[in-house]
Symmetry: C2
Subunit: 492 residues, 2 copies
């Protein structure tokens, strides 16, 4: 099954596409730019959702749901926002179909034209802030800490499964605060939540930073982000958290009575991660044999494959595995038992390797005799025969923890080797072409220089790192002064 | 706060609307026909989702996600289906906005017209069966048991919060089977899951039945349903499960190689429940003081309100409640502690009554002296002072169970009194007008008679009950023979 998977070294892009399809994660749908998330892919997304949702609730947020449609006029209320989103949106103009009287089949009923067109939400700031206007009167109503799990649509011309699709699933947090300080704190808090989620669950090291003006969210004062590195040396923006200032409050006239009695505009934030994280997860860890899943996000952490030649052998194995599986499950480890007769063990081994199940346990007649099982770990592909004794569950539990840490470490070490400081534009271009990765360089702070670098090298400033040291230097392009290095990379 | 809530006996419809808004469940959005589900309402919906999702998974289903958009031509592939859904759908015709060169602001870009219009899904049979065509080749690929949690849009002209909105949230199960028997079994299995959910979690007794041809889902061979009764004597369809026969398999050419080697069309089912259940939950149990929530679906099962006059008293109470709350939470009981200084106890009492929190615990200085608390149950509004001793957690736990049973029993008793057998059309009309409820009558089985009754009385056949006794009789309208009574009612 995994035989035909292209090698990363030969065609990384093809490897990714084929892996997503063959591991049953997602596929292109008949609807242009929209994907079908298949059950196995969706199960991983559900694990992500569960953890994120828990983290949002632990930081005081509640979920709610706002309309899919946004009146056209709403988009226009925030000037930068409409510039950013008008070019790629799905527009609903009619509300009925009818039979063509001239035999042309089903057609749009011209009499059912909407007075005002509706946009399928590309993001929900406008419709949410128009609602917040009614929810916020006084400082007692603040902070308002709301999150929404939803689908959104951005009419992308070039799409790739999970990484860039016209419709995608995401969560969008929208909060309102009484002061600038509080709103900035919230923006950073949620960035930290995203970074913690990426590192702890996705085993994905990320760099926290601030976007330049060019790369900022349309309507934000500041966009914070986490940036991850993929195995091909390209960067991937894995989450963003926006400090909106009072922009949307002003656009939708959302004021509150302060403790001191004055009437002030509310301060806002918004933050989101999407099914794009699935792309990051796949690209960061997987290998030429298929998916490599960090145990913390694997729908099944363990798969058990019995090996037998007769019904009698199968029965004996079933008896032993039953107890083993029951103990593993009691310890909170999800286990799949695949005793299907329709497929051979070798086929199953390849299948679960392709699907990235962290631990594969095989048990055959010899194991029965010896009181052992064969344990294969997906990350290193190492196998070992271990006794099925009292400590077995603890051993597996420990193995899963080790794997989680090992997958993170591997990604971290890889990234460490892919961060390069450069001192000149020549060196910059050479590193980009020969090595890729994150390139730390001095920049004069102007959009013009950033634009020039992008045009000439396809690299963008991923972020101004939050934990970057102050270091006086000269812009690699213009020679003008710079206070701190920024991170450039070619990116997804 | 709840003071102004209209009485059910005076204006049931207004009572419902006001209750939904004042209890912070939902509100109308600026977008026509779409609602905003507020955090408290969404928290109840999340509880419903969790339980249903668990039940779906326990019966072997996996979640997946399919596109929001459906190409216009897909809708037309199943003849009955397009008839049912074309009249009320949101149509996407363009994919870009632009600045009007003549200064008219943001307009739809006429150059960005889609070649084929896209319909925002009103239900997903078509796009899912077009996908299943590629997923199903052999009997080994069957059964395919998939569920989707999603938003859907039906362009309703008259909308009511939760009960009928243009956009709503739901789950839709779509399964494929190798035989008719299996598909029918699945249809009934999921109907049973819905009935169990309604009765166990929503405390809502339901009648299981089959729809008449007139009321059948567009594209189904048979529609099974659960029907509930609201306090105003009107029926509400709470869930449907459709046996699709081979209709969608034929429309999308989905065939499989059978065990015997032949090529056959696949058999299908689909089933769904939606945020409409929120409407049913609210209308079935609530009273003139506000919401009454069955404990099994309450976001907070218990609220604790401290009563104090000094900081010292507050501190003393905090100490006692801290331990009490910790014990309750350990027992799996969700508790909210409301020690806000900004609101008085009386205000809080009214607020939590309005919001239907099952158990309210108040604790003041006298309670401290006596080692007691005051416990108020929301369903009966009874209060009692009970000792804060070793058995306290068990007592509360038992109380919550009793309440769940009591709320169900109340709804069940009410319904029992609202099921009326009638022998003539005159009696039928009189019962409908004077009493309402479910009316059991003989019907000749023709759509014409059903239509006539609907036109003349606004009552529809809710279902042919599955557990109805065979009983020979004569149609109340035409006098023609009938084998079984059917259930008529005016309905939401």
């Amino acid at each position: 099954m995994s035989k035909g998977l292209p090698k990363r070294s030969e065609d990384y892009s093809l490897w990714y596409n084929e892996l997503v399809k063959r591991a049953d994660l997602a596929e292109n749908s008949p609807v242009r730019g929209c994907m079908v998330i298949k059950p196995y892919g969706y199960a991983i997304w559900e694990k992500m959702q569960q953890e994120l949702d828990r983290m949002f609730k632990e930081t005081g947020h509640s979920n709610a749901y706002f309309p899919l449609f946004i009146p056209k006029s709403y988009l226009s209320k925030e000037a930068a926002h409409v510039e950013g989103f008008a070019k790629e949106c799905a527009v609903v103009t009619h509300y009925r179909l009818k039979n063509d009287e001239n035999g042309g089949g089903i057609i749009v009923d011209p009499e059912a034209k909407l007075e005002e067109e509706l946009i399928v939400r590309p993001t929900s700031e406008t419709v949410i802030w128009s609602t917040y206007k009614n929810w916020i009167q006084s400082y007692r109503d603040l902070p308002l800490l709301i999150n929404q799990w939803a689908n959104v649509v951005r009419w992308e011309m070039r799409t790739r499964l999970f990484l860039r699709t016209a419709e995608f699933l995401w969560q969008e947090g929208h909060t309102a605060h009484a002061s600038k300080t509080e709103a900035v704190e919230e923006t950073v808090r949620m960035l930290d939540v995203y970074a913690e989620f990426a590192e702890t669950f996705m085993a994905l090291p990320v760099i926290k930073g601030v976007k330049t003006e060019n790369e900022r969210f349309a309507g934000a004062e500041d966009t914070y982000c986490i940036e991850a590195l993929m195995q091909d040396g390209k960067a991937l923006q894995a989450g963003t958290s926006h400090f909106l200032g009072q922009n949307f409050a002003k656009a939708f006239d959302v004021k509150f009575q302060s403790k001191e009695g004055g009437l002030e505009y509310v301060w806002g934030t918004s933050w989101g991660v999407s099914t794009r994280l699935m792309g990051a997860l796949i690209m960061a860890h997987s290998d030429d044999n298929g998916l490599v899943l960090p145990p913390n996000l694997a729908p099944n952490k363990v798969v058990v494959v019995p090996i037998y030649r007769s019904d009698e052998e199968k029965e004996q194995i079933n008896e032993v595995t039953k107890e083993m599986i029951s103990k593993l499950r009691k310890a909170g480890i999800s286990v799949k038992y695949d005793d299907r007769d329709t497929h051979k063990p070798g086929w199953k081994f390849a299948e679960y390797e392709l699907k990235g199940v962290p631990v594969r346990i095989a048990i055959g007649p010899k194991d029965l005799e010896n009181g052992t099982v064969e344990v294969a770990r997906r990350d290193t592909l190492e196998k070992s025969v271990i006794p099925l004794n009292e400590e077995f569950t603890t051993t597996i539990s420990q193995l899963l923890e080790d794997m989680q840490a090992n997958i993170y470490k591997k990604a971290h070490d890889f990234r460490a080797g892919m961060i390069t400081k450069v001192e000149s534009y020549e060196e910059f271009k050479s590193v980009l072409d020969k090595k890729g990765g994150f390139v730390l360089a001095h920049w004069d702070g102007t959009p013009e220089t950033e634009e020039k670098v992008k045009d000439e090298t396809k690299a963008t400033i991923r972020c101004i790192p939050l934990d970057g040291e102050e270091e006086a230097g000269k812009c690699m392009v213009t020679g003008k002064p710079s206070k701190q290095r920024v991170i450039f990379a070619r990116a997804y």
